[in-house]
């Protein structure tokens, strides 16, 4: 029985399997993606270590300076160091991404498994709900919500979470459906295991793999939403530095100095590239079936 079970569960333990790791390392895109992600995460987490200035300290005499040895990426209108602010901006982006993606993954996973495993009527109802949520275009929803409730970082995160849940839920549902009727689940059921137990112990480990990959590929979407809303002045509020607010400040004075929009844009691109490469390589290595769908 034990041996049989092991054969079917092919998710988490596989991640550590050496042949998969080798496969991953052979993929230059994957390695590049991983490196970029590592670089961004480290630079954000240890921002105070790498920063050359305080992100909020103004030096008005030295405003709108170009790149120099002292200010690697120049300074903004208030003489704040752009390089330092970009580093700290990474913290906001990753914070939104980490919280947004993990909460929507957990909720999506739970709802998706319930939809896949539960009765048909529940499945249909949840599916309809997912489709309805997906029919709200994120940015329009966000604009309307900001109008009602005022701009804030937590509002941005809430919107990110609500709109990304259906993606995870649908994927989890499909995976659950595909293993719902396998023999070992049926065996568990006949032994009288509760639904909670079946879902948590037997189904979850099997469906979470693809979801994690989807999560990696979802990070760029979330980071872009945050930056976009902050760019419009509807997300992160001053003086907090976010790539979006840096871009907004730079856009206003684009004729005076191009450095700020360049500096705010590059980390955004590196982040999206890094997570996309990483996610896609992981997918190719661990779950080639997904390739078709996405």
């Amino acid at each position: 029985m034990k041996a049989y079970k092991k054969k079917i569960i092919l998710s988490l333990p596989d991640v550590i399997l050496p042949e998969k790791l080798v496969l991953f390392l052979r993929n230059p895109m994957g390695v590049l993606g991983f490196t970029l992600v590592l670089l961004i995460v480290i630079s954000a987490v240890f921002a105070p270590l790498f920063a050359t200035h305080n992100p909020f300290t103004m030096d008005i005499a030295n405003r709108l300076a170009g790149p120099s040895f002292d200010n690697f990426l120049g300074t903004d209108q208030l003489g704040r160091d752009t390089y330092t602010r970009v580093l700290y901006g990474g913290r906001v982006a990753l914070q939104v991404a980490a919280i947004g993606v993990s909460v929507s993954l957990i909720v999506g996973l739970t709802l998706g498994m319930i939809a896949g495993y539960g009765p048909l009527w529940l499945d249909n109802m949840l599916l309809l709900l997912f489709d309805a949520i997906r029919s709200f275009p994120t940015i329009v929803l966000a604009l309307a919500a900001v109008a009602l409730l005022g701009p804030s970082l937590s509002l941005v995160m809430t919107i990110v979470i609500i709109t990304s849940i259906p993606g995870y839920a649908r994927l989890a549902r499909t995976s659950t459906l595909s293993i719902k009727n396998t023999e070992f689940i049926l065996a568990e059921q006949s032994l009288g295991a509760s639904m909670k137990r079946v879902l948590a112990i037997h189904i979850m480990p099997n469906v979470i793999g693809p979801l994690l990959i989807l999560a990696a590929m979802d990070v760029p979407v979330v980071v872009t939403i945050e930056a976009g809303l902050s760019f419009l002045g509807l997300g992160v509020q001053p003086p907090t530095a976010s790539w979006g607010t840096i871009l907004n400040e730079g856009y206003l004075i684009i004729r005076t100095t191009p450095w700020i929009v360049i500096a705010g844009g590059i980390p955004l691109i590196l982040t999206t590239l890094g997570f996309t490469f990483l996610g896609e390589s992981l997918r190719d290595v661990f779950d080639p079936r997904l390739r078709k769908g996405k």
């Binding site: 309805a132 940015i139 930056a227 976009g228 955004l268 999206t272």
Partner: protein
């Protein structure tokens, strides 16, 4: 086919209904006076009284909802708080600009993305294929609003080739095209990558299928095969992708309209959010949801018409 059509349309109607319900619940669940929430902080007492009468706020909630739905179905989305013009009229003036921008963006990216995908698929793992692969991911990775900003920096500020604001003179077709170039470029760039990848993947799949292989065996020229058979099949995922990605496309147009001061639904929503002109925001949200549902519906129906196998999945 008919039962699929019926099912799909019913689903769309249900989704629209749910979306309206969600909007209604949101407006009524925020603490405070529902009139000021629905109309925003700047409505005059006159407008508030008129709204209260129109929405029958004295009636029970479910009754109000029925009236709300009825008004939406009649196309009565209320009036602009300040100019008192009909919201539907205001939005219908803006909508064409958004549609033109979205269609142009998709159009040019399809013209580039589909051939790129085809060529990559014909010679998989060639240099061209690899370059296409990298370009695809690269273009997908740059957020469209960043493309807009950098495009302004390069083409308007730096090179001074292209205009920055507006949609051009109506009636002056050339001028409109001229004003459309940069925004359409910004919105469509990411789609080049999406489409190239999607087309490549489905072409590879199709080309490995039997009838293509037998066509090959019959000695048909590979070019004929690609264009006559394979491409036809490659269209399917493209349509699906447009259906699925319409939300993203819309987000792209919102940013492009704001950054290029271009009229359109996105620009008007943004302006109205700033001015706290709530009736217009509500109307615009409903219109975009409606648009989304219609586009996905058309995409799904088109796919199922082209590829009968899909019908069984619903």
């Amino acid at each position: 086919m008919w039962s699929y059509l019926l099912k799909r349309i019913l689903l769309s109607v249900l989704i629209v209904f749910l979306a309206i319900l969600a909007l209604f619940i949101t407006l009524h669940s925020i603490p405070g006076d529902p009139i000021s929430i629905a109309l925003g902080p700047r409505a005059t007492p006159e407008i508030q009284a008129e709204y209260a009468a129109r929405m029958h706020l004295d009636k029970p909630l479910y009754h109000q909802f029925v009236i709300f739905i009825g008004n939406v179905l009649k196309g009565d989305l209320g009036n602009d708080l300040f100019s008192n013009r009909s919201v539907l009229l205001i939005l219908s003036e803006q909508l064409p600009y958004t549609i033109v921008l979205a269609v142009t963006a998709i159009g040019w990216s399809a013209l580039i993305g589909i051939p790129l995908g085809c060529l990559s698929a014909v010679k998989p793992n060639s240099l061209l294929d690899k370059i296409t692969g990298i370009v695809s991911v690269g273009t997908i990775a740059i957020p469209s609003f960043l493309v807009s900003i950098w495009a302004i920096l390069i083409f308007s500020v730096g090179l001074k080739w292209l205009p920055v604001i507006g949609a051009g003179e109506p009636g002056d077709f050339g001028d409109q095209i001229y004003h459309l170039i940069l925004p359409a470029f910004a919105v469509g760039l990411g789609w080049v990558g999406y489409l190239a990848r999607m087309v490549r993947a489905s072409m590879l799949e199709v080309m490995s299928e039997n009838y293509i292989r037998s066509a090959n065996a019959f000695g048909l020229k590979s070019r004929t095969i690609i264009f006559k058979y394979a491409l036809k099949v490659a269209i399917l995922p493209t349509i699906t992708l447009i259906g699925v990605g319409f939300g993203a496309l819309l987000s792209g147009t919102v940013f492009a309209e704001i950054i290029f001061s271009r009229p359109g639904i996105g620009k008007i929503i943004y302006n109205m959010v700033l001015a706290r002109n709530f009736p217009v925001i509500q109307g615009a949200v409903l219109i975009t949801i409606g648009m989304y549902v219609i586009v996905t519906l058309i995409a799904d129906l088109a796919v199922s018409w082209l590829d009968p196998r899909v019908r069984d999945t619903l």
